[in-house]
Amino acid sequence: MQYHILIKWRNTINLYLIEYAINAMLRQKYKNFFIFMILTFLTFLLTSVFFITNSIRFELDSTVNALPQIIVQKVKAGKGYDIEVARVDKILEISGVSDAIARVWGYYYFENAGVNFSIVGIAQYENQYKNSFAKVTEKFDFEQLKENSSMVVGCGVMQVMRNSYYKEYFNFIKPDGTLKKVTIGGIFDADTNLESNDMILMPEELVREIFDFDPLKATDIVVKVANPKEIQIVASKIKLMFADTRIITTNDLKVSYQNIFDYKSGIFLALFIVSIFTFFIIIYDKSSGLSSEEKKEIGILKAVGWKVDDVLKEKFYESFIISFFSYSLGVGLSLGFVYLLNAPILRDIFVGYSQLKTDFELPFVFDMQTLFLVFFLSVPIYIAATLIPSWRVATLEADEVIR
């Protein structure tokens, strides 16, 4: 049975034609090598762009999923102000609200490294609004940390501090210019890279001291809603209750985080590269077409009995071998570049440089759609660009071509 299949396959696939195609490629090895390199590079660039954007989108989704459903901020003259902690009790009275927590946090600019740390206050016995914080409170006793003036930092923060020779403690400069020495009590594993890169968790009282916060006020209030479909309704109710507030929902945050990651610019660049890629192939084809030798060869082949489809099959094999191998190599190189080397240079283009220095590793996201997309943008376009001029010549009278 297998033998019959092999015979059938042998009869369908003309190995002589494939051999001829390989020989034809080797006869123009320098030109074909150049095309192979260009195609490989473009595939590599395009695939890398897609891999990076996919990873960033994955990271973004993880971050957004960990965000609070509603954030209530106090606004005065268009600017954010500290909000009264007493408002928490009133928000809790709104039906549909399952929890409300006053957060004490802020950005601390560390001039030496030119980065912002997000300092978040944690109260040991309060409900935590993030899973990662809940895990931290299970692992670390914040009452103890309060007594020792200690903090728990993300891995990225630890790295930045170490680079500035702060290995055991860090000196925060308070608004009045005095220093607050806080020891590093531990390192926490965050749910997302973004968190671990810029976040410092410390007892609420320490945050209040570093930022000179009023004890009756907080940075904002986060609200949990039992039914996610009611987020907008609850948000409206809070707004009605406190006219001087800005209500930010998960959807608003998504938009804001998208801007931080700037993945839209990544997609834009991807489209741009696609255009250049297509443009390059078309220009190359238009400008070079077929040389007189190539035209004559097609004429000779027809004169010795090749049909138009024999010529086109041979040209198909030639272009398929070049484009498919360059595609495979490009994708392989791109996988290594993005996921093993963490996409040096390219990553910085896509990851927005906002207040945070987002020095995170790209998570591995294998997306078949991306591979198909790049395949259809490269291989068939190249094959078509090769077949069309060959078809034009092959359909002329052989006599005309040979003469």
Binding site: Y16, I300, V304, W306, K307, V308, D399
Partner: protein, 226 residues
């Protein structure tokens, strides 16, 4: 002997550019029997090569019909014309029309590639034809490194690898010295003995008056004059 080729009222006009037209043949009528050796003679541009090209279905007549074994080949669609050539015609071109950077063997293989025959059969055909035309010892040599005479033997071997009924040769000795030209004539003689129909377009006097030649036909300004 039965008729194998017939040209009926053939006119061929080449269009050069948008406005220029060159009349290569005008109302040509010709019948050729199987096994005949025909010499088409005449000066350059007289229309000899055009007749060969029409018989090989490499081009189509402007008007009239070309019949081979009673089949109208002048109106064949492109793919059928290729199959017709593959099965019936062996064409030896003036400049040989070999692919210069392929080996002797690879050039001779060309007409067999679309047939997708099994390896041993292909090898058998190639070896046999190479031996017959004394080029087997150069089978792996790249064609551009061969002498004119050797290249012509490759062209003859390629033209015969499919064992066609009709051999067409266009100015076959134009690039050869007398010795090699005589050798070519010997090879044509041998093919004639195998009952091949041979048509040679030439103005080389060596071909005139040969004993195995059936007819000499003179073409002048696209017309048969004698």
């Amino acid at each position: 002997m039965s008729k194998i080729i017939e040209l009926k009222e053939i006119t061929k006009i080449y269009e050069v550019g948008k406005h220029e037209r060159i009349q290569a043949l005008e109302n040509v009528n010709l019948k050729i029997d199987e096994g005949e050796v025909i010499i088409l003679k005449g000066v350059s541009g007289s229309g000899k090569s055009t007749i060969l090209s029409l018989i090989a279905a490499l081009s189509k007549p402007t008007s009239g019909e070309v019949l081979v074994e009673e089949k109208k080949i002048s109106k064949l669609p492109d793919n059928f014309a290729s199959i017709y050539r593959r099965d019936n015609i062996g064409f030896i071109f003036q400049k040989y029309n070999l692919i210069p950077n392929l080996s002797v063997k690879e050039n001779i293989l060309l007409p067999l590639i679309p047939l997708n025959l099994n390896g041993s059969k292909v090898d058998e055909k190639i070896q046999s034809v190479m031996k017959r035309f004394h080029i087997a010892h150069k089978q792996n040599t790249i064609v551009r490194n061969l002498s004119g005479g050797e290249q012509q033997r490759v062209a003859i071997a390629r033209a015969n690898v499919n064992n066609p009924k009709i051999i067409l040769a266009d100015e076959p000795t134009a690039n050869l010295d007398e010795k090699l030209s005589l050798h070519f004539i010997d090879m044509m003689h041998e093919l004639h003995s195998q009952k091949k129909t041979i048509i040679i377009a030439t103005h080389d006097p060596l071909f005139f008056g040969l004993d195995f030649v059936s007819r000499e036909i003179e073409i002048h300004n696209g017309k048969i004059v004698s």
